[in-house]
Each structure stands twice: as C-alpha cells, then as structure tokens.
Point group: C2
Chain length 405, copies 2
Amino acid sequence: MAVFVYKFGGTSVGSVERIKAVAEKIKKSRDQGNHIVAVVSAMSGETNRLTGLAKEIQSSPNNREMDVLLSTGEQVTMSLLSMALHEINCPACSYTGGQVKILTDSMHTKARIREIDDVKVKKDLDKGRVVVVAGFQGIDEEGNITTLGRGGSDTTAVALAAALKADECHIYTDVDGVYTTDPRVEPKARKLDKITFEEMLEMASLGSKVLQIRAVEFAGKYNVALRVLSSFEEGEGTLITYEESEMERALISGIAFNRDEAKLTITGVPDLPGVASKILCPVADKNIEVDMIIQNIADDATTDFTFTVHRNDYERAKKILEDICSDLGAKEVTTDDTIVKISIVGVGMRSHAGIASTMFKVLADEGINIRMISTSEIKISVVVDEKYLELAVRALHKAFELEQE
Amino acid sequence: MAVFVYKFGGTSVGSVERIKAVAEKIKKSRDQGNHIVAVVSAMSGETNRLTGLAKEIQSSPNNREMDVLLSTGEQVTMSLLSMALHEINCPACSYTGGQVKILTDSMHTKARIREIDDVKVKKDLDKGRVVVVAGFQGIDEEGNITTLGRGGSDTTAVALAAALKADECHIYTDVDGVYTTDPRVEPKARKLDKITFEEMLEMASLGSKVLQIRAVEFAGKYNVALRVLSSFEEGEGTLITYEESEMERALISGIAFNRDEAKLTITGVPDLPGVASKILCPVADKNIEVDMIIQNIADDATTDFTFTVHRNDYERAKKILEDICSDLGAKEVTTDDTIVKISIVGVGMRSHAGIASTMFKVLADEGINIRMISTSEIKISVVVDEKYLELAVRALHKAFELEQE
C-alpha cells in the first residue's frame, strides 16, 4: 500500500466548502487503497487576523507567544478537516505539531525541524485512519510551541514524507503545476510534467512562488518525490524529482524572473585585498540581503563593485554606500531601482555549451541591453531595464522552444 | 509570598482593550509581591464562532475533534494576555492545558481532571513570572486534547489553586459577587461578603449562574478559598469558604429560583413496591433529568407521584408518562409547565427551627398557593405558579431581613 503525504495550503482550506472538497479528494485516494497523511495550513486570512490582534497589543509581539497564537490557525483547520472526513465516513484523527511530535529547535517564529516521531502517525495509518497534521508548527525540547515561519507547512509535509518514507508528497495549491515561465507574462508558458530539485530551487529562489525553498531543499536532501498540483482541478501537476536520463534532453526547463530587485554600484574603488568585505559588511550588519554580486576591474588600480538588493532595502543600502564611499577612497555611487533579473534554468546546461551565448544573442536581437550577468551551473541570470521584462521573457521562451513538449 | 489563581471569563477578555485591562490588574497584584497564575477563557463569541464552523461541517461534530477545535479559543486568549503583560514589562509565560500538564480522563467535551503537574508552573512562579494558563482544557493519557465542558475554566482555576495550595482563587466575572437574590427581581438584593460552599452549591444549582457547580464542589473538597469578583469594578466580591462561627448568625443567606421547570403528576398509581422506578426509569432512559420528586399517598391502595423536569424536556416527559399510564393501572397524568421553583438557602437552618413554617406563612399571607415542597438540610424549596415569582421572592427577602447586613 502506497503512503502519500498531501499538503493543503490556506486557499485550499479557505472555507467550509473547500474543506469539504479536500475531504472528498482525500477519501477518493484512500478508497483506492492509499495511506494518507494530510498536512494543513491555517484557513486563508486567519494568520493575518491573529497577527492583527497581536499587533494591537504589542507593536513587536513576543516571539514565544506569537507562536502560541499563530499555531491555533492550523489547529482549527485540522479539526475541521477531520470532522469533514468523519462526515463522509472516512476514519480520521488530527494532531498538532506537538502531538505528533515534530521536534524543532527553539528559534521561535522560524524554528527548524530536528526530528519527527512517526510512531503515532504510523499506528493510525495502520488502523486505516487518515491522519491530519497541523503544518507550520512543532514543539521544542522544553515543550514550547514553535512555528517554522512563512510557508512552513510545505516543510512539515516534506519532513513527514521523509520520516514516513512516503511514496510521494503532494503540495496542493492554487496553481496546477510548475510552468516554463509565468503565464501572465507569456501566455504560451507550458506546464512541466517534471523538473529536477535543483531547477526547482533556482526557480523558487527567483520568484516562482509555488513552493518554499526550504521544503524543496529538504525534499532533495531526503529524496522525497514532490508533486505540485491544483486542489481545485484534476491533473497530474508537476513532479519534482532527481535528474533522470530522459530529462537530459531539455536544455532549459524554465525562465524565472524577479521584479523586486535594485542595483547599486560603487565605482573607482582602490583594488586592495578586503575591499569586498569592507563594502558588504556594513550592508549585512543592517540585515540587508544581497543577491547578485559582481566585481569588475576598471583599470590597473581601481575596481567597480556592483550588487543587487530587494527594492525594499534599496534606500537603506544606498545610504550605507554613500556613507562609506569616501572612506574607501572610491569615486562615486550609482544606483538603479528600475531593473529586473531574468534567469534561464535547466540541468541541460551542464552538458550543452553555447546556451549563454544563445541567450545573449536573443536579447541583443531584441535590442535589450544587458546590465549584469551572473551564472551558476544550471542557471544564467541577466539584469535588464524593467521595461524589457515581457519582451525578454517571451523572446527567450520562443528561442529555447519552451512551448513545445 | 502569597499565591493567587485568578480566572478571567470570556467577557473579561472579550476584546483587546479588556485583555490590556486584565494585564494591568494582574501586574498591580504582582507588584504587591504576589505570585499570580491567570486562567483564561476564550474571548466572548469565539466558542460560538468555532462551534458554528463545526456545525457547518458535521451536524453532530466528532467529540475528539470538537475538543481540538474549541481548545484553540483559550490558546488565543492566553497568548494575547501574555503579550499584554510583556508590553507592560511584566514577565509572563502561557501554557495550554496539555503543556501544564492538566491530565484528564478521555471523556471528550466533558472530561474530568485527574491530576495536575505543577512543576512547570511553580518553576515559572519562582522566576517571578506570571503564568497564564488556558482554562477549560486538558490532555488525556494518550496525549489527546480534552475539554471540561461549559464553565470548565472555573474548574481549571480551582484545580490549579488546589494543586498549588494557593492562598485564594479569584473568579473574575461580570458581576461583583453573590447576591441574596437576583437584583433584577428584588432591587434590595444585597451582595454577600461571605457564603459557605454548601450554600453556594445550592444557590448555583438553583439558577444563580455565577459559578459552575463542579468548580464549587472541587473548591469545597480541596478547601480552596474561592472569591467571586467583578473584573470591571474594584471591590472585595464574595468569599466562598467553610462555615465559620460568625456566619451562624445568619438564618438564610439567599433566595434562589428557577424559571425553567415543569411539573408532571401521575395520579391513582397502585401503591406497590417498585412503582417509583417503573415511572422514573423510562424517563431516565431518555436522558431526561428529574429535579424534585414527591410521592404522596392518595388512599390506602393508590399513590400520587409528582416530579419536575426542565421545560425543554417537558413534552417528551409528558409523552412517556401517558404511554406508561395504563400499563401501571394509574388513573391519569396531569401536567403544568407554568410553575417556578423558589428556594431559601442557609446553613443557619441547621440550628434554627421554624424557618420552614415562617416561609410557608409569608407565602400564605400573600395568597400564594404552594404546589410542591421539598427540603434538604440547608434548603427549603417550594413550587408555585410562575406569576407569583416576583411577589414571593420580594416577600421572602423582606421577611428574612436579607437587605440588612
């Protein structure tokens, strides 16, 4: 008998009607002879409601108590889903993270899973019950309630699948799979049947917000077959798995992009050892996350240093650079918050040369100026003016024939 | 240092503003050097909201899952109160029933407390923290979440006070104490400074809904000094305690009444052994609770049998009696659902004769016909037509001089 872990996000359990629909979906699979563990998020809107209450009391709520508060969201959903299963004569039992138990460290609001005790869950599965588990939450060694941070329910599902050695972990969401690119930008975007963990990680980190990065990392590490599906439509979704020989044929799996970046450059920096850290340490000290980093030699004695940050951090980063510019003996600071990053992702790059030059030629043919380039083993990213985003994505999608199977 | 357990009901924590006020009240007491454990209910309205969700899914929700669902109500309050305490620099820590842990039996939706582990709470108190505990809930031996049923938060507070050997257990509510009778019926009703456990039990069971009966029983059994106070006004409230010599002076402590009763009589029943059980067993089989029971001999061979039930059960009880009437060889069934029960309660009755006759004379002087009489050691109850309720209560209140200290 196959064991499946199904995860249903906030939208999928956003109303009583949707919870009933989820119960029907689970029952159908169970009737086919499968063992099912269902991991649920809080009903959509609930987390915001609770956060709102907390903020009325403390502008910066106590982290431990915030976890106590927020963890009630999933607890409500899990009991309602279990009731919906009982209502259609499907035996079920719900557990909080603490009850399972999902042991985490004590970093409240962003805890990490250390260990999962699968005894209770297995016992219930053996009795033919569907086990409903609250996502996003756990318990530390002292018995305090912890939460895993935004999107933590995906991580709960994958960790449970790993612990139970489940056949597949299904992430039910409001999209029906992973696409070659955002269909709102390129209507010809095609749903992928398969994608590798590495590709998914690159896609996720670049703004394809289907899955949490931590969940994908976890799935990759413990070799959990992950499938992204729609909770509203039928379909096979997209399977995220290890690279297989047949997959090598695809050069590029998808095009990801990120509209939220801003670019900062400090020019004419004396090219001495330690200059990079002198620039980036003050930025990191202010908890600003840096994405792309590029350093180019301008002439024999000086260098130009460029990096990108989230647009929310743009003004603060700019201020920091301007403050250190003269200390470094640099020339000037130039910045731009009207840029986007576009990346092509694919494991096929490993074994095929010339993909980068194809990408650059496609953009050049469209008259798009490339402002920055950064590459990794399975990804090539470029920074361009934001006005070119749609044009660039569509041209690349066509050039790499992503609309075709 | 004194240890106090404070319990705040749903109205007392019904909004963010009220939770902040409760936090101030707690801090004030802590600043006076007291150790405080605060037991909280769900915010008013929340239990109904959750029950509504459940009923949309299951007309008769699964009991285990209902407990999982409802227990989130107190969990939300406890985290918000703990945050409110942090906000005013009062160290605090919140625990669910399971975290404490409050061990109960496995009777979901009406579990009973078996044992309280006070290690965690004591440790926090010793560190100078206010401990906020979710009322109404516990955990069974298998780790399932249980709830204690309506008003269970009072029981949690008393049980915690017993376990911690607290100096007093304060029940904060929306009234400022226990009154000699309902002030809406007799405006001269006076707040009592003290009342005995036994009197409080009789008052509570007769419709003075200030405290849960189970909580009072528990407090009596474990000798927990219980105090009922208003969470909105200052004041000493009413202390519920063991009988003391000074209290013997009061003949009557209060007048309780119950508008929800109906009376059923079966007349001309052959007076044979076992007849009472033949009448009451079919009633009990239908889960109808019987309150007063009176049997009178009509003549040598037959008897009249009368009992009262809650008005909600009136029609069903009537049907049962009519069905068994001919089997019993009885004459007829007469019923009345326009009656009320009025009781005078006081430990003074034990040592003073003539209280019953005073009561009957007062009612006779007002022209009120007594339909049934029942007495216990510290209580005399009469059933009268409901139209006489106010008249009877006011006359008795005056006759027993309850408006005077």
